[in-house]
Subunit: 362 residues, 2 copies
């Protein structure tokens, strides 16, 4: 089947661009003492995870137990839930999963640590737990320093847990547009991590690993001499929002757009306006509208549930029935709207990869 | 199972509030010569469609052929695709569906009309086609008047099509906050419809029906003496954005919130801030953040993919592990993130209704 024959809307993965991004990232960290643990929240697809592992990744990150279950079910042997898991229902599933694969989780609360231990005991497993440290994202995590040490001690005191290190993701830095802003934010994160590591060493706890980083900053963490593991996710797809970052002199490669929403022009009754069949149920607009690929003048003005409004700004090629590629504003929640990737190479469909963790919220 | 036992995030339907909304809408149009054809794009669930029909609806609207297929499969006998369907792949599916149920579709292009006719001929069916008229939403549709007449004539000239009337949905009016703005917008829409109807009558074509309206304005269409059918969708759920409309003296009932995202407090490391496990993959933020039900002081500040940040503003009751109800900003795309409704009455789970048209984009 050719791409032209694929009905719309559909989620298209350009395999050449995707594979190029995988290789570019590996090349950019080659020779460095850093491990790669890509975030599966971006792709939710074991086929992609296994390709990342084949190129050298040690495993993947997930945000949810159900996402981790989908990855393990799909053959991934090593999953870090880079997030807190709260409540015995989920923790029992986590402990059950630890019987099938290497599983780790984060914590930022002593009561939660006790719950993880209870679940691990119930299932007869030992679970690796990392302390999540707030290094500037201001979401989950305790402050660097004494607060983090307190959680680390609580973990180390539990019989069925192993203190495994620090989760230190500076999510707030990833989309800062200027390289220097991102570099400064990561320097501050590194400082918080170092202060915490000093306390942990002084307390006689094992160092464990330091894990974090995203596509916008990962080379700064990789060269920090503090981070051990990178959690990059979006580099495989490169969405329209990430493309707005300045990359010059960051050392980070300019990854190619590989993920597209395939859409049809479905109404052409007004001059210079084309209505397409992909709205906000086909491409998440939380980080801005999609861009129209191959038509730099055309502007995707707005999305309603099932429609997109494109101002052509004089571009030709928007005849009723024409199919177009949109570059999603934000790849992660866009992927979460689809059941599979239509994988394309040279204009031909090469595979369908199921997005088995689509909707895996819990 | 009690609601408290339901794991999070989950999509909760409060059956008492939902059934109350169904009855309130019926009561508000009782005795009027108007038909009800609720929009299934909001709920994507045959169980809900069949309940709407049982209370008097003539059928449902859909936006996509795949949505219509899910409704017919679920037992709905009459579906209007209140949208254009472009391309022979989809039109053949539409024609095939017309063998199983009463199916109608909209058009705004003569070439598309010919394609619908070709598909209908191929499958040996006659399909009802309405002309979509742009009555102010500025999305699909031709202008009222001569342009609409031209499409109506094209439909009437096709052997396997029946000209069935006008699709005249003023989508741009639904969320105008002031009642008078909405009333004025619908008066203008009615004017455009009347001008078009006069031309259609003069041309000797059958009148057909006039269909449109949404939750924000439907009583204005219902009392216009021009509209025959109402396409309300959101009234069953009532999202946070619709709740911002002024309803006073509109005559439209103040529908109750019946749809909630059930979420857990998963991190509490900062004063006055609670992190919950529902982000933008659990509640669409295209029309604003969700509201926190039962805690009027608390404010949902922002959503990332898997996290929500709530500023408690002094509210008690946000202990780690506590479960909360969020009122989605926009119900339609939020429903599209889930595989089923957890239907609850009096704090107990009464049913799970599958969202069979979830992800039905094509």
């Amino acid at each position: 089947m050719t791409l032209a024959e694929v009905d719309t809307p559909a989620l298209i993965l350009d395999l050449d661009a995707f594979e190029g991004n995988l290789r570019q990232l590996q090349a950019s960290i080659a020779g460095r003492k850093i491990m790669l643990r890509p975030h599966a929240k971006s792709h939710k697809c074991p086929q992609i995870a296994l390709r990342q592992i084949a190129l050298g990744a040690v495993g993947v990150c997930c945000q949810k137990v159900s996402e981790a279950e989908a990855m393990v079910e799909g053959g991934v042997p090593d999953v870090l839930i880079a997030n807190e898991v709260v409540g015995m229902t989920k923790l029992r599933r986590l402990a059950a999963l630890a019987k099938q694969a290497k599983v780790a989780v984060c914590a930022d609360d002593e009561g939660n640590v006790k719950d993880i231990d209870a679940a691990a005991r119930e299932f007869g497993v030992v679970i690796d737990v990392l302390v999540e440290v707030n290094v500037g994202a201001n979401r989950c995590g305790v402050e660097p320093g004494e607060a983090a040490l307190k959680i680390a001690r609580a973990i180390a005191a539990c019989k069925n847990l192993r203190y495994a290190g620090l989760q230190a993701y500076q999510g707030g830095a990833q989309h800062m547009r200027k390289v220097e802003e991102r570099r400064t934010a990561i320097a501050a994160a590194v400082d918080g991590v170092q202060r915490t590591l000093a306390l942990i060493e002084k307390a006689g706890l094992p160092r464990g690993k330091v894990t974090g980083a995203g596509t916008g900053t990962y080379l700064f963490e990789a060269t920090s001499a503090v981070y051990d593991e990178l959690q990059v996710g979006s580099y495989i797809f490169m969405d329209a929002d990430y493309a707005k970052n300045d990359w010059t002199e960051s050392g980070i490669p300019r990854f190619e757009h590989s993920l597209f929403v395939w859409t049809t022009v479905m109404s052409r009754t007004r001059a210079d306006i084309a209505i397409v069949d992909a709205g906000l149920k086909a491409s998440s607009i939380d980080s801005g509208m999609p861009r129209v690929a191959d038509f730099p003048q055309a502007e995707f003005l707005k999305a309603s549930d099932e429609h997109g409004v494109i101002q052509m700004n004089g571009s030709a090629g928007f005849t009723l029935g024409d199919k177009l590629k949109l570059i999603p504003g934000h790849c992660d929640p866009t992927v979460n709207l689809y059941d599979h990737y239509v994988c394309v190479r040279g204009g031909r469909v090469e595979a369908l990869w199921p997005i088995t963790a689509r909707g895996a919220l819990w």
